[in-house]
């Protein structure tokens, strides 16, 4: 078993523990009931996605400066894993919204900017898929990745900059009763830690895949050599 496979098993075990904490340890919300437990993974996935897109930003910036292809591979890995986590955030949020707002989707600033974030990085992946691999594609993708990151603070601060259906910051809120705070905060921080570990493992696996795929493209395919016998001289 490789080190990455062992790391994956560790990350899955941590996520299982986080699941146990969410379902059996965290307090049930007085107003929303059990559905509020969506919060823990919904927010953790969003933060993991921010982290992944930060990897795209850094990888792109380093590639533009140094033309180091390892940085480009980290960026590619971050984008794909970031899109996966943004999808989890969006879908879990939609299901939670249906229960508490009565609609899967409202076009408020938080939801719309998150959808735009998903589209930007899905576009980034599309650019990588459609363009011929090489320096030009990596440079173009780096620019998309760097400018795309502008949407991350917009998503994060949208609930304070504009009036939204989506609730504002919950953790930094004095309204939470102190007796609930410890269990709630522990479950949230533990889930966030486990999700970040999972994201880091996923990015590392993807980086390794991208490295091996790049190597495969560099190695020339074997040339078929046909040896023909020279015609024998006619006597």
């Amino acid at each position: 078993m490789s080190r990455l496979e062992k790391a994956s098993i560790g990350a899955v075990a941590l996520m299982a523990l986080a699941g146990a904490a969410i379902f059996f340890y965290a307090p049930t919300d007085f107003l929303q009931g059990a559905v509020q437990r969506i919060f823990y993974l919904h927010v953790s996935s969003a933060i993991a996605a921010y982290g992944c897109f930060a990897v795209v930003l850094l990888g792109g910036a380093i590639f533009l400066r140094t033309e180091n292809y390892a940085a480009d591979r980290w960026a590619r890995a971050g984008a794909l894993v970031g899109v996966v986590f943004t999808t989890v955030t969006l879908v879990m949020g939609m299901l939670w919204a249906k229960k508490v707002w009565g609609a899967f989707w409202v076009w408020d600033a938080r939801l719309t900017s998150t959808l735009v974030l998903w589209i930007i990085y899905a576009g980034y992946l599309l650019v990588r898929r459609l363009t011929e691999p090489g320096r030009q594609a990596a440079r173009l993708a780096a620019v998309v990745g760097i400018f795309g990151f502008v949407d991350v603070p917009v998503v994060h601060f949208s609930v304070t900059w504009w009036v939204t259906h989506h609730p504002g910051p919950v953790i930094i809120n004095d309204a939470l009763p102190p007796e609930m705070l410890a269990t709630f905060l522990f479950t949230f921080l533990f889930t966030m830690f486990c999700t970040l570990v999972l994201a880091a493992v996923m990015i590392t696996i993807r980086y390794r895949i991208e490295t091996l795929m790049d190597l495969k493209q560099l190695v020339p395919s074997p040339v078929q050599v046909v040896i023909t016998r020279e015609p024998e001289p006619v006597q």
Binding site: L4, S8, A34, V35, L41, W96, M202, R206, L212, M213
Partner: protein, 35 residues
């Protein structure tokens, strides 16, 4: 309760599925090719 279960089932399916497929792809790429 059903929305909660659907939400977590979706997350487990997507994250778990992605991780599984990634590991399978990695294993295939790391397998030595016979020439």
């Amino acid at each position: 309760m059903s929305y909660l279960l659907i939400a977590y089932a979706f997350a487990v399916a997507l994250l778990g599925g992605y991780l599984f497929l990634s590991l399978r792809q990695l294993r295939e790429l790391e397998r030595p090719t016979r020439r």
